[in-house]
Structures are given as structure tokens and as C-alpha cells.
């Protein structure tokens, strides 16, 4: 067993941010283990994406270009990864812990009878073993976890590692054939309802969130405007989602999304422990709340006690002025 593999997730011909983070984490692991770094690129019409993986730090690239791989289906991707890994015996297989990456690693690990550790936020090497630091108990504690023997299947959480930047390096992709024919696949993708155009919470560098303090669906207006001016994503507390003021996909917290932006602006959010679990690893936290005793101020770097309907528009105006928007 040797070598570090990174699965590069691509959507419509673009490598996803979380995969650029995974390959930069993989680059460091490969250096520590003294192993080559191999990128896996699966899809349809992915010649350019596969070649681009060299520029992101791969020493070798294995590509598979097939119509059955056009949409991500774990039933098509999983057997391909498991077969390749079974034949070539990598020591470490790494992916970003996106919905797709999570499914793929679970499939591959099951078929390889391998240990699997998800959601790494820190990776180290002891001997030939990768020590993964990951959140447990909904981010209330951390654990140092490792695979005791055999192939080490790992995933890393979004925004925990810097994204690899293209260097211009090139190489020759090794192309392999798909392992499951369309007629043997048990699923068909029959549609996609895109929510594209909005910034994804898990990828966002800046998140502006609203809580109970916004008072109703229309109260998210000024919060969304600030997010918009900053090019950030719109978040929400559980209370506002449960009240039906905003769709679930915006929920940050224990039963929503776990986020880790550079800047998190909490507007009218008291900061219940469940909300904190979803955003406490943000780099800088700003809290705006009427109640000086709100727990969110204990977590925040900067606080303003006041009416969010006055403070947030003032912030939006100030950012507009400074950013020339």
C-alpha cells in the first residue's frame, strides 16, 4: 500500500472549491508520507478538468470519462473508485466531505472493507498513519481519530484547509474505462432543480444571518441586503426556519449547516448552544442584538447592542460606500 489519492469533485466541468481544499490537504499528506499524490477525476467531457488537476498539485491523474458518469451517482462512481483502489492499493484516499464526497467515500470504504473517518478539520501524520482531528457531538468536542490498519479513507470538511491555486503544471492523464453499464445502474437522474445564483453557505467566506430578532419573513430583507453587498451567503437560526420565515436550506446550527466563514455577522440571534455548534469556528464573529445579555456576545469578536433594523442598514450603507458599490 502506498500513495495518496484525492477524489476531485467536478460539477458541470468545474472543480469544486472543497476539492481544491482536499487536494491541498492531500499534497501535505503526500509530502509527510513520502508518497506520490494522485488525483481522480470522473465525469463526462472532463478532459480539461482532469488535465487541470496537475496544476493543482497532482503528480499523477487517473481519469474516467463516460456518459454514465455525467451526473454524480454513487452507484456509478463507487464501484469505479473501489475497483481502482482494490487493484492499486493506495494508502490514503481523501475527498471533500460534500454530499457527494461523503456518499462516495462511504461506498468505497464499505467495498474495500476499509476504515473511514469523515469531516477532518486537521490532518497530521504519525509514522504511516494519518491522525485526523474532527468535531464530534455536533462540534461541542473534538476527537483525534485514526484508521488502525488497511487503507485509510478520509474526508475533510469545507473551509478547513486552504484551496490549492493553479500553478500551470501539466502532465498526461491516464484514462480508464467505467465499470458499470447504464443498463446495470439502479437509478436514473430525471431532473435537477437548481438553486444556483445564491451563494452556498458551506462555501461562503462571509455569512450574514438573521434570528428571531428579524420578527418575520420581511425582516430578512435588510439582512439579505447586507449579505448581498458583501457577496456573502444568507444564514438563519432554527427559530426562523421553524416559524416558516425562510427556507430550511439557510439554517445554520446543529440541525442545519455547520459553517466556518472568515466573517459571520449574527443579526438578532441570541446564540443558543445549538446555533453556536454550527458557527463557532468562524474566524471573526460580529453580533448585533438588542439584548446585552444574549449569549452570542460571549462568542463574538465585535458586538453592537442595538436595533438591527437601524444597525444593519447603517452597516450596509457604510460597506457600500467603502466598497464602491
Amino acid at each position: 500500500m502506498s500513495g495518496v489519492w484525492v477524489w476531485m469533485e467536478q460539477r458541470q466541468g468545474a472543480i469544486s472549491t472543497i476539492s481544491r481544499e482536499a487536494i491541498s490537504a492531500g499534497r501535505n499528506l503526500a509530502a509527510s508520507l513520502g508518497s506520490p499524490l494522485t488525483a481522480l477525476v470522473f465525469g463526462h467531457n472532463v478532459g480539461d478538468v482532469a488535465a487541470a488537476a496537475f496544476g493543482l498539485g497532482a503528480d499523477a491523474v487517473i481519469g474516467c470519462d463516460d456518459e454514465t458518469l455525467a451526473d454524480f451517482r454513487v452507484e456509478a462512481y463507487g464501484p469505479l473508485m473501489a475497483q481502482l483502489a482494490g487493484q492499486r492499493q493506495p494508502q490514503v484516499i481523501l475527498a471533500g466531505a460534500s454530499t457527494r464526497g461523503r456518499d462516495l467515500m462511504a461506498w468505497a470504504a464499505a467495498d474495500l472493507d476499509a476504515g473511514l473517518v469523515s469531516d477532518g478539520i486537521g490532518l497530521g501524520v504519525e509514522g504511516q498513519t494519518v491522525m485526523v482531528t474532527r468535531p464530534v457531538y455536533a462540534g461541542k468536542l473534538l476527537a483525534k481519530v485514526y484508521v488502525k490498519d488497511g487503507p485509510q479513507c478520509l474526508s475533510v470538511r469545507g473551509r478547513a484547509f486552504p484551496a490549492a491555486e493553479p500553478t500551470g503544471a501539466t502532465g498526461n492523464v491516464e484514462w480508464v474505462t467505467a465499470v458499470v453499464a447504464e443498463s446495470d445502474l439502479p437509478t436514473k437522474v430525471i431532473g435537477f432543480e437548481s438553486s444556483e445564483g445564491t451563494v452556498s453557505l458551506t462555501d461562503a467566506k462571509i455569512i450574514v444571518s438573521g434570528g428571531r430578532g428579524v420578527g418575520g419573513p420581511e425582516g430578512f430583507g435588510p439582512v439579505a441586503e447586507l449579505a448581498n453587498v458583501l457577496g456573502g451567503a444568507l444564514g438563519a437560526s432554527r427559530a426562523t426556519v421553524d416559524a416558516g420565515w425562510i427556507p430550511y436550506e439557510h439554517q445554520v446550527g446543529q440541525t442545519g449547516k455547520t459553517v466556518s466563514p472568515d466573517l459571520y455577522i449574527a443579526c438578532g440571534i441570541s446564540g443558543a448552544i445549538q446555533h453556536q455548534a454550527g458557527m463557532r469556528t468562524s474566524k471573526v464573529i460580529v453580533a448585533i442584538n438588542k439584548d446585552v445579555d444574549a449569549p452570542i456576545f460571549k462568542l463574538a469578536n465585535y458586538g453592537i447592542v442595538g436595533d438591527l433594523f437601524k444597525v444593519v442598514p447603517a452597516l450596509t450603507a457604510e460597506f457600500r460606500r467603502r466598497l464602491g458599490k
Binding site: 462511504a106 476504515g115 473511514l116 457531538y137 430550511y248 440541525t255 462568542l299 447603517a314
Partner: protein, 263 residues
């Protein structure tokens, strides 16, 4: 049709944790209920019950855990599941996700004739979200993860159509039964247990299946989880921005955020 819902007893969302020297973890809850049904599983239980209400048949709740996990199963029964089974054996302690999947798959096989096995999207203790796919692999069934709606199901034709909530939108997929499904919160609004349901659940005798009952020696585990520790405290101390006007507060705060290089 026959539906299984796998559920787990976890610390409550408001639980406060203590890590002792040596790494043992304990928790307590200010509300006095330190253990609950894994919050994500409530949506799976609800969906399992709704499916049998629409299609007829039985919903069986299944939990791998200690005797204390009977509480989670009683909640599932009180909500409306028809049967509950506890899978419990010292040989299953410390199982990793694949070990857990092996045990649950063996139990689902033993239940027999199952069309759909439901899971919550993840458990809030281990937080791995991997078990659904791994159970599906053990059974040779199709996994459908992060499901936000069952759009159609036809047990006679053996087909199902679901919407899956991915990062950038919803993927609509058809699959052949049987399937293993994990659900997200958007799928439904879980009901509260009824008074009659609670009475029924309290009287229920829940069978326990052991390793021997499932024909297993142990779950197996390739992952070492023993080193758990507390989070480093956030180093920052809050700076309250105070000024005579909100415009001035905004100006000061924006200055700080540019200095922090987060804009």
C-alpha cells in the same frame, strides 16, 4: 409494505459536555433530559409512519445500542411505529461506521421483506453521515441520501422517485426498491407522540436481538475514536462598539473588519 427506521439514542441538543482526564466523556442537560432520539431521526421516524399510513403495512423501529436506548424506541412507538427491536450486545461496542452498518444490515435482513429502510441524515454524536450508504452496500440495496421529498412510490412496480438536497440544488432520482434512504429536515414536520401512543409504548415489551441472534461474532472496528477532548476556547474577548450614532458605530465596525482582513 414493510418499512424499517433505524434510530439512535444521542445526547440532547442542549447537552453540556465534560471531558475528564483520561478522555472519558459525560454530559448533562440543563433541561433534565440528557438523552433523546437523535434529532435527525425524528424526520426518518415520521416519514416511515407516513409511508405506512399511505401504503398500508408496518413500520419497524430498530436501534443499535445499550439497554438504555429502549427510550429512543419507546419514542418511535409512541409516535406511531408498529414494532420496535433493540439490537444490543457487548460485542458491538466501539463499532465504527462499517461495523455499525454490518450489524444494522443483519438486523434488517432478519426483519425480512423490507422495502425501504430509513435513516436520519446523521447522528449528532458521531456526526459521520456515512452509515446509510454503508448499510446499503451490506444489503446490496440502492442508497438514496439527503432525501427532501418522496415524490412517488409504487410498491407493485417496485419503483420510487425522490428529491435529494445537494449543495447547489435538488436532484430528482428514480430507483428500484428496496432502497436505503436518509432524510433531511425539510422532508416533513414530525408529530408529537399522542397520549394513547405513549401509553402503548410504555406497555410494549421490546425484544432484544444479540450478536448470536444475528449470526455475527462482533461488529469489528478499524477506527480508533478514543482520544476525545474539549474545544479550545475562542481566544477573543468581545469588543463592544459604542458611539453616539449608528452611523458612527457602523464606521468603526467596518474599520475593524477591514483591519481583520475578512472583507
Amino acid at each position: 409494505m414493510k418499512v424499517v427506521v433505524c434510530t439512535k439514542q444521542t445526547p440532547s441538543t442542549t447537552a453540556v459536555f465534560t471531558v475528564r482526564a483520561g478522555g472519558s466523556v459525560s454530559w448533562d442537560d440543563p433541561g433534565g433530559k440528557p438523552n433523546v432520539v437523535n434529532p435527525w431521526d425524528e424526520y426518518a421516524i415520521e416519514e416511515a409512519i407516513r409511508l405506512t399510513e399511505k401504503q398500508g403495512g408496518t413500520a419497524v423501529a430498530l436501534t443499535l445500542g445499550t439497554e438504555a436506548s429502549q427510550e429512543a424506541l419507546k419514542t418511535a412507538l409512541a409516535m406511531g411505529c408498529h414494532e420496535a427491536i433493540l439490537v444490543s450486545d457487548g460485542a458491538f461496542e466501539g463499532a465504527d461506521s462499517l461495523g455499525t452498518a454490518r450489524v444494522l444490515a443483519a438486523a434488517i435482513r432478519k426483519v425480512g421483506g423490507v422495502d425501504v429502510a430509513f435513516f436520519g441524515k446523521q447522528a449528532i454524536d458521531g456526526d459521520t453521515g456515512q452509515t446509510t450508504v454503508q448499510v446499503a452496500r451490506q444489503l446490496g440495496w440502492t442508497p438514496l441520501t439527503f432525501v427532501s421529498a418522496i415524490q412517488a412510490i409504487d410498491p407493485a412496480a417496485g419503483t420510487i422517485t425522490v428529491a435529494r438536497l445537494l449543495e447547489e440544488g435538488k436532484q430528482i432520482v428514480t430507483a428500484r426498491l428496496p432502497v436505503v434512504i436518509s432524510v433531511v429536515k425539510e422532508i416533513n414536520e414530525p408529530r408529537y407522540p399522542s397520549f394513547m401512543g405513549i401509553r402503548k409504548a410504555n406497555r410494549a415489551v421490546i425484544p432484544t436481538w444479540t450478536a448470536a441472534d444475528l449470526g455475527l461474532n462482533s461488529s469489528g472496528s478499524k477506527v480508533d475514536w478514543s482520544n476525545v477532548f474539549a474545544l479550545p476556547a475562542r481566544e477573543s474577548k468581545v469588543e463592544m462598539i459604542e458611539a453616539d450614532s449608528v452611523e458612527e458605530q457602523a464606521r468603526i465596525l467596518v474599520d475593524r473588519l477591514f483591519e481583520e482582513k475578512v472583507i
